[in-house]
């Protein structure tokens, strides 16, 4: 396993109470694999990805579990060795690429900064490599564009620059936190194609965070569904769509418009995400669940299934599972 997150729990201390943003989150990611993480807004997707990168907010405290990258426990290693990893071995791209780039530094310089930090190269080499990276993400006229500032580029181009920046040192893991929200559908497709292609080329693993189930379905090998800080289900993409086991997954699929659905077929999920402050029931979905049993509130959350397919539910949908 390239990355394995085990029983990770994380909370934020805020003035209005402790926010239990992640609880007992377990995930794993193999080399070259693409894992999608989906869920409603506020379900903890970004918090998870920031925890993996070690760039959590200062108010965050990990209360349990571990994150291992190639066997190295990221939570216990010191800041310097993490800095060595970040940007070199694992990299991240963000939503809203325009603001995610330094507005007053030429994009080429920003890429070169990362290369100089990790690549063991000279200034000239870094510059050349930056141009090369820009060319690789199909930015026309890369020499000139390397000197351009983010505000001189469109959103799609900025996202390409972000990708070039992330991939500059050839990381083994790419975390993409909603890389295409805010972009056009057509640009979104092109960007996703690019990520997919580059990942395949270098056998890079990708953690794709999105709230668009359709996108995850199209791009990922496996998908993890998150709800209120819990990973409720992990399954291969096609299986997840064909046979969702967790009631939340099923509802999420049903509420996503697809080319084939009709308005009548859209089924909204009742209720909303619980407030993560204060006491929470063992199953955080129970409140909204139509398959809730008395056990759900009494017994601790049960995770069942094998490595390829887990579900955190006492009463999963077993439908036409073989």
């Amino acid at each position: 396993m390239l990355l394995s997150v085990e029983n990770l729990s994380l909370c934020f201390r805020t003035r209005s109470g402790v926010v239990r943003a992640l609880e007992d989150v377990s995930l794993s990611l193999a080399k070259g694999e693409t894992l999608g993480v989906v869920g409603e807004s506020g379900s903890g997707k970004s918090v998870l990805s920031f925890a993996v990168m070690g760039i959590s907010d200062s108010a965050a405290t990990v209360t349990g579990g571990s994150i291992r990258f190639e066997g190295l426990d990221l939570l216990t290693s010191d800041g310097d060795s993490l800095d060595e990893l970040r940007g070199a071995e694992m990299a991240m791209i963000f939503q809203n690429p325009r603001t995610a780039l330094n507005p007053i530094r030429p994009v080429g310089r920003q890429i070169a900064d990362v290369l100089l930090r990790h690549g063991g190269v000279t200034h000239a080499q870094a510059k050349a490599k930056a141009v090369e990276m820009l060319a690789k993400v199909r930015i026309p006229d890369p020499e000139r564009r390397a000197l351009a500032y983010p505000f001189e580029m469109s959103g799609g181009m900025c996202q390409r620059v972000m990708i070039a920046l992330a991939l500059a040192c050839g990381p083994k893991l790419l975390i993409a936190d909603e890389p295409t929200t805010g972009l056009d559908v057509t640009t979104q497709a092109a960007i996703m194609d690019l990520i997919e292609e580059l990942a395949r080329e270098s056998n890079m693993a990708t953690l794709l965070i999105t709230h668009d189930l359709g996108l995850a379905a199209e791009r990922c090998h496996r998908i993890a569904v998150m709800h209120a800080g819990h990973v409720v289900e992990v399954a291969p993409a096609d299986e997840l769509f064909a046979n969702p086991r967790h009631p939340y997954t099923a509802r999420l699929i049903a509420t996503t418009p697809r080319p084939s659905t009709s308005l009548a077929g859209l089924e909204p999920i009742p209720g909303s995400l619980p407030d993560l402050r204060g006491e929470l029931p063992p199953c955080r979905y129970a409140e909204r669940c139509e398959r809730r049993t008395p056990d759900c509130d009494r017994q601790p959350l049960l995770r069942q299934g094998d490595a390829s397919r887990t579900v955190a539910c006492r009463n999963p949908i077993m439908g036409d599972a073989a």
Binding site: T99, A100, N102, P103, V114, L165, A166
Partner: protein
């Protein structure tokens, strides 16, 4: 760089109406001053008649618009009039005293920047901590003290009680000789002349007044640095930089600070205006032979020509300064550079 020259030309052109307005306002304001230069010139024992005679000679009996035209004519020839208090042409007085004021103001500003920026950064990197509160209290205290009070207090403590600072009487103590005038800044001139003694002497004289000004300018700068640093540190691109494993120093300085400086640079203009005002008081306390003390004396004596000359110089300087700030801003921020 032609675009820069174009920008400068445009800014100067844009400032002309303001300067024209300043000339008019200054003229009206100074003519409203209660003094009577004719009575002053007429001497101690003049009677009403001889005062009228002098008034006629000075052209002060003419209607204001006529006087204004005459004033404009003089201005066009670079003639700012003559000061009653020093008896010298105002232009010469200002030329001689301006470097003193500018040197002092700049030293105060530099001192403030040198303290304020690290303080602001320290506060922003640990918001809510004791450093933050301390920075806030220090800088707020600085701006809460009336400058003349700070100045007097510093003189009392460092000169009178402790004897660490030299006597507060101008730019050099009585024994040092001024370096040959090149820039008019004693610090610079003495370095050019290689005169270590003069440099030390002028630096020692500068220390307290510059500190007084610096304390005053500290607050807006530290506060702005803190606020903009906080904003920048929580922005997306800093997260990107951290996620790229860039070292803490690079993130803080190359990425965060440079961005955070933009609003600080803008505040500089305002701070400078405050400083020029505070300068007037500080110069009075420290017997600093700058244009501020010159202006106060003239104002209290209802001596128009120096007041007009002073305000005009200040306005021109302020416009020039804003121009410099714009250019500096453009150097830091490519966005304005392109939009021009």
């Amino acid at each position: 760089m032609p675009p820069v020259i174009l920008l400068i030309a445009k800014r100067i052109l844009g400032a002309l109406p303001s300067i024209a307005a300043v000339v008019v306002v200054t003229f009206v304001l100074t003519r409203a001053l209660p003094g009577d230069p004719a009575a002053y010139f007429a001497g101690p024992a003049a009677d009403q008649e001889s005062v009228e005679e002098i008034r006629r000679k000075l052209g002060l009996d003419k209607p204001l618009p006529v006087q204004f035209i005459a004033y404009l004519g003089d201005l066009a020839q670079g003639n700012f009039g003559t000061s009653l208090t020093t008896g010298q042409p105002v232009a010469a007085d200002i030329a001689q005293r301006l470097p003193a004021s500018v040197e002092l103001t700049l030293c105060g500003l530099v001192l403030a920047l040198v303290i304020a920026i690290p303080l602001g950064i320290a506060a922003a990197t640990r918001p809510g901590s004791w450093v933050d509160h301390l920075a806030r209290v220090i800088s707020t205290a600085g701006v809460s003290l009336p400058v003349f009070f700070t100045g007097l207090l510093l003189v009392y403590i460092f000169y009178y009680l402790l004897g660490w600072a030299p006597a507060p009487m101008g730019r050099l103590d009585l024994f040092a000789t001024a370096p040959p005038t090149i820039t008019g800044f004693y610090l610079v001139d003495s370095l050019i002349a290689g005169d270590g003694a003069a440099f030390r002497a002028s630096a020692a004289q500068l220390a307290l007044p510059a500190l007084t000004l610096g304390l005053f300018a500290l607050a807006p700068l530290a506060r702005m640095t803190r606020a903009s640093m906080l904003g920048v540190l929580s922005s997306d691109f800093i997260r990107t930089a951290r996620a790229s494993g860039l070292s803490r120093g690079t993130v803080l300085v190359t990425y965060a600070l440079r961005n955070a400086l933009l609003p600080v640079v803008t505040t500089l203009g305002m701070v400078f205006s405050f400083l020029l005002g505070a300068n007037v008081l500080v110069e009075k306390v420290f017997a600093w032979p700058g244009i501020g003390s010159y202006a106060i004396e003239a104002l209290v004596a209802s001596d128009y020509a120096p007041v007009q000359g002073f305000i005009l110089t200040m306005a021109v300087m302020y416009v020039a300064l804003n121009l410099m700030i714009d250019i500096l801003y453009g150097l830091i921020d490519p966005r304005v550079r392109i939009e021009g």
